[in-house]
Symmetry: C2
Subunit: 323 residues, 2 copies
């Protein structure tokens, strides 16, 4: 019996479940949580859903999102706990200890770095989203889908693939979504909500950022600069800030995008984005970390000295790549 | 025999074809053109491809795009001409007269407004893109797909659906794309090229536009203003301009986005975007036209008087909607 088969057996035989996903909830964690919850409910199970963190407003239209609990801890270790989309227990924040005391932990995830902390682990790194794995499990359990499940899984999969633009998108991803759309979803309305809309403060911050745009190394490096002061003045949240940095990379001909975010007189956060370069290496050399195409670091010092240090490393990297 | 069957019969029986798509080529017209051309070539046909207009640089990575002819006219009326993605013959620009002299015109399109000007018309408004129709035809003709065909059709379908975000995206759209990805495409690389990259001039223009942002009617209407002068100074093309207006609509809470583009002292172009309102009505009242969520008009007069007139109509519309 595979781990997957064992998981399905438990899901079918037990009556009560806790389901939880990671802190700083995103589309995949929220969508997977709601779909798994509703799916189990539809075959007569009793479930309680948890997240260690507020669900962002743009996902509030998903049915059941209002009933997800952030502030009541998991209490009964006898109840099987399903952990979704969380590569390690630290991602569960204040819920970590309670979850890890559960007699049975079912760990379902698509991150290749998953630490397999569950009693049973289903980790499929070929899935574009945890929602894609949940789809397969619910189908195998013969759960009858409704619009709520379909919408939740659509949000899970479309957000983790950047609306099917990222390279994690596979043929199976599209097959799953084809079947979800058959439940009568409107991809136009949902996508407008989860992708295109941004608060006014975001655009004010973007204007400030674009005003600082500089290009280096024959226009292959784009640099923008923001500060905590400017962010606060614009009314923007740190969530708004996240969207700004991609504007550096999206300029034609730019290989490396850099955003300096001046936290204070003595600390600067630096974000890196690239099209093909490995910026995790660059971040690594500056005591930071991250992914191949999105990484960053946090450096002590005033803005000018930090900028000089980072620019020197960045230029070296670009020159080595061209050589 | 349906029109579709007759078309397939001709495609299988004839030896020579001209294929042409519309002026101001976009992803669907270019992708459909190249896929149809390569598909017919693979079953031994001889084809020549035409467009009345330069293919934008972001599509030059598509194989065969360099061999599409813009400046040599169609000459032989005996050769069957396939017209793609063009709702009426005017969309064929300088090629119009030559095409309309062809003995057999095969007209394949997904625009509901198609004027059925062909000898044989295959108009399927339920298809998200003309590329989706071409996929079905080539499959039915048992054309063996290669990576070039798959990439061309992927570009056709993904651009006309805004990467599967628009409401024209259906279950079938995703099924088709699932099968295209099986040919070994990398959706990440292609999408970066066709969606995310913009020239530097675009971002300079965006900065200028954001600096003019105004909100009206309790933040339900966003207005930006640009001028021909500013566009020229930023080095931006009119193609760049097209991307700017969507920024008005994408602000949270905004129902109606308006972009004033001051062409000269006596002429102003006005663009409208909405989330749910019918802006084609609004444009209509100002002697313009367009689609439900994207429309526009061109008004004579100086900027101030045009703005007053447009704002009065726009506010009236917003008030009526709320009532």
């Amino acid at each position: 019996m595979t781990e997957r088969e064992k998981i399905i057996e438990i899901l079918l035989s037990e009556e009560y479940f806790y389901i939880i996903s990671h802190m700083l909830p995103d589309g995949d964690s929220v969508g997977s949580l709601l779909a798994m919850g509703e799916g189990l409910r539809r075959i007569g199970k009793k479930v309680r859903l948890f997240t260690p963190g507020q669900i962002p407003g743009k996902y509030h239209f998903l049915q059941g999102s209002e009933a997800v609990v952030q502030d009541v801890l998991i209490t009964d270790p006898e109840i099987t706990t399903i952990v979704l989309d969380s590569s390690d227990p630290d991602r569960l924040g204040v819920f970590k200890d309670a979850v890890m005391k559960s007699k049975i932990i079912i760990n379902i995830d698509h991150h290749v770095t998953n630490q397999r902390f569950g009693t049973l682990d289903l980790v499929d790194a070929s899935a574009a989203a945890t929602g894609e794995i949940i789809y397969g499990i619910l189908k195998e359990m013969n759960v009858e889908f409704n619009k709520s499940i379909a919408e939740a899984l659509y949000v899970a999969i479309s957000t983790d693939t950047g609306s099917f633009k990222y390279e994690n998108t596979t043929s199976n991803t599209h097959l799953v979504v084809a079947s979800l759309l058959d439940m009568g979803l409107n991809p136009g309305t949902i996508s407008q909500k989860i992708f295109d809309e941004r608060p006014l403060s975001f655009y004010i911050l973007l204007k400030e950022a674009l005003a600082t745009l500089e290009l280096y190394e024959r226009r292959s490096m784009a640099v923008m600069t923001l500060s905590n002061d400017i962010r606060e003045r614009s009314g923007a949240s740190s969530d708004d800030l996240d969207g700004i940095i991609n504007y550096t990379r999206n300029i034609e001909g730019v290989e490396l995008g850099v955003l300096f975010y001046v936290e204070s007189d003595s600390e600067v956060k630096v974000g890196f984005r690239s099209k093909v370069l490995d910026v995790s290496e660059l971040a690594d050399r500056l005591n930071g970390g991250g992914h191949v195409r999105a990484a960053g670091c946090r450096l002590q010092g005033d803005f000018q000295s930090v900028k000089e240090k980072v620019m020197a490393e960045a230029c070296k990297m670009l020159k080595n790549t061209k050589a």
